[in-house]
């Protein structure tokens, strides 16, 4: 969820810098880009103050690009990208490969049996035992965590990755004398990946799904909320995918998905820190030219139709209540998107924001309230979320009424000039702080590059935010925050039978 903030934050930073009279040419000066012949683009933000470098590989593929049956594959693939190559993570790839092929054949049989109308449990048991045996055998040739170990012994920190509905990203930082190590490892994991330990990693992913969604009341609530709010658009499916699909994905599916999507045209690489453009260019050419060009991924063409009326779901859990409201909102490309951040500030950021003041401070009816646009993504039209937790002795119903009243107030009377000004100032201060981190800045550039077509876009129409008026906010609330455009998910405490 964080990712959509970056782009927005970035947009706002510059507009405020412009309006505040800051000269950002010194930032622009540090940015350089180049594109390899295969179409792979690099964005570099230099900073030579400390000899460290951070890398972000941004792959323009995420949960939205999946189809039913393999939901969750983008995330699964992200896990598999740490499993090494034909050289890394193995003690004898030739022998290992043979076993991997055998395992695929057995898994094919398992799937065929499992998917048949009347699965033969005996056969399934036999195949599963076969698979277990092969897993043991394959493990003999695996050097577990080799990819990670190599990076770590060279001093890498922040080795991580994330998958959203919009994109998949890979992060790491190294001391700047180890840039070539990154070039070697990062390029080989995307040219010569080996999806080893696939069947074990599935177990890990299932544990991840259990802890994030099934054993987490808010996780459960959000999964339900997405499928309620979206009828057609793939944003309707939780990024990690349903258990049935996680269990069904095969190495074959993964290879096909990888080949179709992890191509130079679908990737942008961001680098920030103690690197010079010529140095990076040479390494990029030497190591990344072999990534196939591929085809630029088309947009998801499915459009979410206009919602016809308010939708609600109530789930009962052995946990305290929570209330989530979502309104369809436009994508990050739409001019209204930035206005939502101002609305956010006015509604929920800081103690003097409207909902905080009313619910948390005056009524003491809520433990907290937050709001955010661009859920579960902002590449396509997503959702504007208001999320709140009632205090003891208060109810979701009561909070919903208060939120409705506050929204109505803005629809009728708009917001005050002071409020809007304060929101702009706060965004400015918050964003300046965010800019301190080179990586935050880099993420903004990458998002702009992929979603708006050019990292420079971030510098262009940035005065928009300063231009927003109180009337614009009123219009925004009138247009989007109406009940027909809304879905509500309530988490209510299940009374435990005694």
């Amino acid at each position: 969820m964080k990712k959509c903030l970056y782009f927005f934050v970035f947009l706002v930073i510059f507009s405020l810098l412009v309006s505040a009279g800051y000269d950002f040419s010194n930032i622009k000066e540090k940015i350089s880009t180049f594109t390899l012949v295969n179409g792979l683009k690099f964005i570099l933000l230099e900073d030579h103050s400390v000899p460290i470098v951070s890398f972000v590989t941004y792959v323009n593929v995420g949960g939205s690009d999946e189809r039913i049956g393999i939901y969750g594959i983008s995330h699964f693939l992200e896990h598999m990208a740490f499993k090494g190559t034909s050289e890394i993570g193995t003690t004898d790839f030739k022998k290992e490969k043979k076993i991997l092929t055998k395992m695929d054949a057995v898994f094919d049989k398992i799937l065929a049996e499992r998917d048949s109308l009347n699965p033969d449990e005996e056969k399934l048991k036999k195949y599963n035992e076969e698979l277990e045996k092969l897993k043991e055998e394959a493990a003999r040739y695996v050097d577990p965590n080799d990819f990670d170990s190599i990076l770590k012994r060279h001093g890498a920190v922040g080795i991580n990755a994330g998958t959203s509905k919009d994109a998949t990203m890979y992060f790491l930082s190294l001391p700047s004398n180890k840039i070539e190590l990154w070039a070697y490892l990062e390029s080989s994991r995307f040219t010569d990946p080996v999806f080893r330990e696939f069947f074990k990693e599935r177990g890990v992913i299932k544990e991840e799904r259990r802890t994030r969604t099934e054993n987490n009341p808010f996780g459960k609530l959000f999964e339900e909320l997405l499928s309620l709010a979206f009828k057609d658009h793939p944003y309707r499916v939780n990024g990690i995918g349903p258990m049935s699909n996680i269990e069904h994905i095969s190495r074959k599916d993964m290879t096909a998905y990888f080949r179709a999507n992890y191509t130079a045209e679908n990737m942008v690489i961001g680098v920030t820190g103690d690197v010079y453009p010529q140095q990076l260019k040479k390494l990029a050419r030497d190591y990344f030219s072999k990534i196939p060009a591929g085809r630029k991924k088309p947009r998801v063409f499915t459009v979410e139709p206009k919602q016809l009326g308010e939708k609600t779901i109530t789930i009962f859990e052995d946990s305290q209540p929570a209330l989530a409201l979502v309104y369809h909102c436009p994508s990050v490309l739409h001019e209204d998107f930035v206005k939502f951040s101002l609305l956010d500030n006015i509604l929920t950021a800081g103690r003097s924001s409207r909902l905080n003041k009313k619910m948390v401070i005056t009524d003491k009816s809520a433990l907290g309230v937050i709001s955010l646009a661009g859920i579960p993504g902002d590449k396509y039209p997503g959702l504007y979320l208001i999320f709140t937790l009632p205090n003891m002795e208060h109810t979701n119903k009561e909070l919903l009424r208060v939120i409705d009243e506050e929204i109505e107030k803005i629809q009728n009377e708009s917001v005050s000039e002071d409020e809007l000004k304060s929101a702009k100032t706060r965004i400015k201060a918050g964003i300046l702080s965010g800019m301190k981190s080179n990586r935050g800045l880099l993420m903004g550039l990458l998002n702009a590059e992929v979603k708006s077509g050019s990292w420079e876009k971030a510098f262009d129409d940035l005065n928009e935010i300063e231009k927003v008026t109180t009337e614009d906010i009123r219009e925004l609330v009138k247009q989007y925050l109406n009940k027909d455009n809304r879905s509500i998910a309530r988490l209510e405490k299940k009374e435990v039978k005694k």
């Binding site: 800051y22 012949v37 295969n38 179409g39 030579h48 400390v50 000899p51 460290i52 890394i88 493990a139 577990p144 990670d148 190599i150 770590k152 012994r153 060279h154 001093g155 890498a156 920190v157 930082s173 700047s176 004398n177 180890k178 070539e180 190590l181 070697y184 074990k200 990693e201 599935r202 177990g203 890990v204 992913i205 544990e207 259990r210 802890t211 054993n215 130079a264 050419r285 030219s289 060009a293 630029k296 946990s319 800081g350 003097s352 948390v360 401070i361 009524d363 003491k364 003891m392 002795e393 208060h394 109810t395 009561e398 009424r401 208060v402 304060s422 706060r426 201060a429 301190k436 077509g453």
Partner: protein, 711 residues
């Protein structure tokens, strides 16, 4: 648009290139071991300037001109470790109230607005060993921001209403603490290790929050918040002279001196069981921790610290660690596993490992962890494994200096704990010196599997195998103790006699008219506030003593009737009828002054105390019924009237003590009745009643008490 055509061009170009020239483009493929890495560029550490204000505030500054921003962080010795046992949470409540409780010159609201409108961010929080203040603002607002902070610290207003707000938030958080299995695991494991009342287990209960008074907060504040106890770090484009001037201006007049109490001692907990198990049957995973109390070695000795760091890295920290390799990668049993030997400075941390796994594989995960513990205690780690771990620290050392904020923050922590300034060199040398024998020794010294406790949270019936295979099992109750009940002193002959004496005075005195009462009819308007919404309720009640009662309420055009006849009763609402529980009938009678002031009944009286409220002196008496339900009467010493009543609220969704404050007394048939009353729960008004008419001994149509449904 240009962008699009450009990309198309690139696609075509790329295809052509890949067809014809591709092999020539790619460099000869190097193997990993052929890559030569240059030396790391040297870099200058920013200088940390040091000074102090006239009244002793230590200032540490790194000048950074990258952005026109100021970042400030203050450490104040104090914090959670010093919480009184019965008032856990006092430190953090104090910190929060300083932040939001207003100042001498600014109402809480004004304070919030001043901060928000200037884009300033100020947070005051509490850690185990210190309070922290963090402040960030634009350079141009620095003086304003420090001025606001100084007002918070020098002239806090400790607004009562804001304290209520904080307490409400805490209570709400307590009520939610069993919703997240990961935090239950942490909390309950720490409780086993440190004991339930230890500040290091840090379990805040309703009763603790309830116990915290304004006087506690003011006392805590005065004890710790003082200029000589403030270690301040600043990253900003400003010079030290400018920063110091601003601090002298706003904090210069502050003269308080901190009085730090002795640091609490950790008591080793003794358990006669090996496994603590807590049931949470809505989970399909178990969340578990394994470990024991740590040793308190002085890890300001870098040699010891270095060994622990390398050990943790090999065994349990990070992706390449043994636990991760075994339980996640090889077994596929979890998404996360971690822990290690703590390196706390002032108290013994714990040595502990935790993870979660699907319910069925709980025992497999526990056994795998113990297995790894036994291996690392028995066998020396391989030289390569050791070298990898050491190389990681040595090569990644530069990341400790990746930003001025981080450098300053580390420096503040070192200074706070008295860690030598040249730790960088010391630690590097110490890490280089760690041997495989050291790791074995560290494992043997800090990991004692026999002493380890296993805590498991999960659904027992889905766990494959027997928990008792691990050792003796104790079931742990994680249910949240309900908010504090009224603390009633033990009855004594003396307080019982005095209670009865006072009631007798009422029966014979101001309330003697009750003796003549046979029936009573009351017509009233009530406003009830439930869940933030106020509802008008019309009430008509008719009592035919001693055992018949009729009550009709109209709420939002709906009629609700309650009828009691003898020991039976019903409630009728929109044509539906349900019997009234016995306890409701009894309770209704218990609360009726007629029974208190007329009959001797089964009521017990107990005198509590004399108290002053709003300038009036009251004698406070408890009344108990047979089930030990209580009712508290406040009798005005001067007027002899019962002006306040308290009891546990039975209103739906409103828990706590309900206080009814009566006024507008009028005498009807020789009996004083309060024509107005307001009811409060936790200081919040939940009801207000105005009596329209009272009739004493009116004629009563007995048919209204018929329990059979009327046709």
């Amino acid at each position: 648009m240009k962008q699009v055509s450009l990309s198309k061009y690139f696609i075509v170009a790329a295809v052509l290139v890949s067809l014809s020239f591709s092999p020539g483009f790619a460099a000869k493929k190097k193997r990993l071991d052929q890559i030569k890495f240059p030396e790391l560029n040297t870099f200058d550490l920013p200088e940390i300037k040091k000074t102090q204000t006239g009244n002793g505030i230590k200032l540490r500054l790194i000048k950074d001109e990258k952005l026109p921003l100021v970042d400030l962080k203050i450490l104040i010795r104090g914090g959670d470790a010093y919480d009184p046992t019965a008032k856990a949470g006092l430190a953090v409540v104090t910190a929060q109230l300083l932040r939001i409780g207003g100042t001498r010159d600014l109402q809480p609201d004004q304070l919030d607005q001043r901060i928000d409108a200037n884009g300033i961010s100020i947070n005051i929080g509490s850690n185990i060993d210190f309070f922290t203040i963090s402040l960030s603002c634009l350079q141009e607002n620095f003086s304003e921001a420090v001025s606001i902070l100084s007002q918070m610290l020098l002239y806090p207003a400790f607004d009562k209403e804001k304290l209520e707000e904080i307490k409400t938030q805490f209570n709400s958080a307590i009520s939610r603490r069993n919703d997240d299995p990961g935090s239950i695991n942490n909390r309950e494991f720490n409780t086993l290790i440190y004991g339930k009342d230890s500040p290091f287990a840090a379990v805040i209960e309703y009763k603790h929050i309830d116990n915290i008074t304004m006087a506690d907060i003011v006392g805590f504040y005065k004890r710790f918040f003082a200029p000589d106890n403030m270690l301040t770090g600043i990253v900003s484009p400003l010079e030290m002279a400018e920063v110091k001037e601003v601090f002298e201006k706003h904090f210069g007049s502050w003269t308080n001196t901190a009085r730090i109490p002795p640091y609490p001692v950790v008591k080793q907990q003794m358990h006669d069981f090996k496994v603590g198990f807590a049931e949470k049957s809505n989970l399909n995973q178990s969340y578990l921790s394994i470990g024991h109390l740590g040793m308190q070695e002085d890890i300001r000795d870098f040699k010891e610290k270095a060994k622990i760091m390398v050990f943790n890295s090999i065994f349990s920290a990070g992706f390449s660690s043994r636990l991760m390799s075994r339980v996640r990668v090889k077994m596929g049993l979890t998404y996360r596993i971690g822990g290690g030997i703590d390196t706390e400075i002032l108290y013994p941390g714990s040595t502990s490992f935790s993870t979660f796994t699907k319910s069925e594989s709980t025992m497999d995960a526990v056994k795998a962890i113990f297995d790894e513990i036994n291996i690392i205690r028995k066998e020396k780690v391989a030289e390569k494994e050791l070298k990898d771990a050491k190389d990681y620290f040595l090569n990644s050392f530069v990341f400790r200096f990746s930003s001025p904020e981080q450098i300053l923050s580390n420096a503040l922590t070192s200074e706070f704990y008295g860690i030598a300034e040249d730790f960088r060199k010391n630690l590097v040398e110490s890490i280089k010196a760690v041997t495989a024998a050291d790791i074995l020794e560290t494992a043997d010294k800090y990991l004692q599997p026999d002493k380890m406790i296993v805590f498991i949270l999960g659904k027992e019936e889905d766990i494959r195998g027997n928990l008792s295979d691990l050792g003796k099992v104790k079931k742990i109750d994680i249910s949240i103790p309900p908010p504090a009940q009224e603390k009633i002193p033990a009855p004594t002959g003396e307080n019982l006699a005095k209670g009865r004496r006072i009631i007798n005075t009422l029966i014979k005195g101001s309330y003697r008219g009750y003796k003549q009462v046979k029936s009573l009819e009351v017509l009233a308007d009530t406003k009830m506030t439930i869940s933030g919404r106020t509802l008008p309720v019309g009430v008509k009640s008719i009592s035919l003593y001693p055992d018949k009662y009729y009550n009709e309420m109209s709420v939002m055009g709906m009629k609700v009737e309650v009828i009691v006849n003898g020991d039976k009763g019903v409630m009728r609402q929109m044509g539906r009828e349900r019997p009234l529980p016995q306890e409701d009938i009894a309770e209704n009678r218990f609360g009726d002054l007629f029974f208190i002031l007329n009959t001797e009944g089964s009521t017990e009286y107990q005198y509590l105390k004399e108290t002053e409220i709003d300038g009036n002196i009251y004698e406070v008496i408890y009344l108990f019924d047979a089930k030990k339900n209580w009712l508290k009467l406040f009798v005005n010493k001067k007027t002899g009237l019962i002006e306040i009543e308290e009891k546990m609220s039975k209103l739906p969704g409103i828990s706590g003590i309900a206080r009814e404050v009566k006024s507008d007394f009028r005498t009807v048939a020789g009996i004083p009745f309060a024509y107005k009353s307001k009811t409060y729960v936790k200081g919040k008004k939940v009801g207000e009643t105005t009596i329209k008419r009272i009739k004493v001994n009116p004629p009563v149509d007995a048919s209204i008490f018929h329990l059979e449904k009327k046709e």
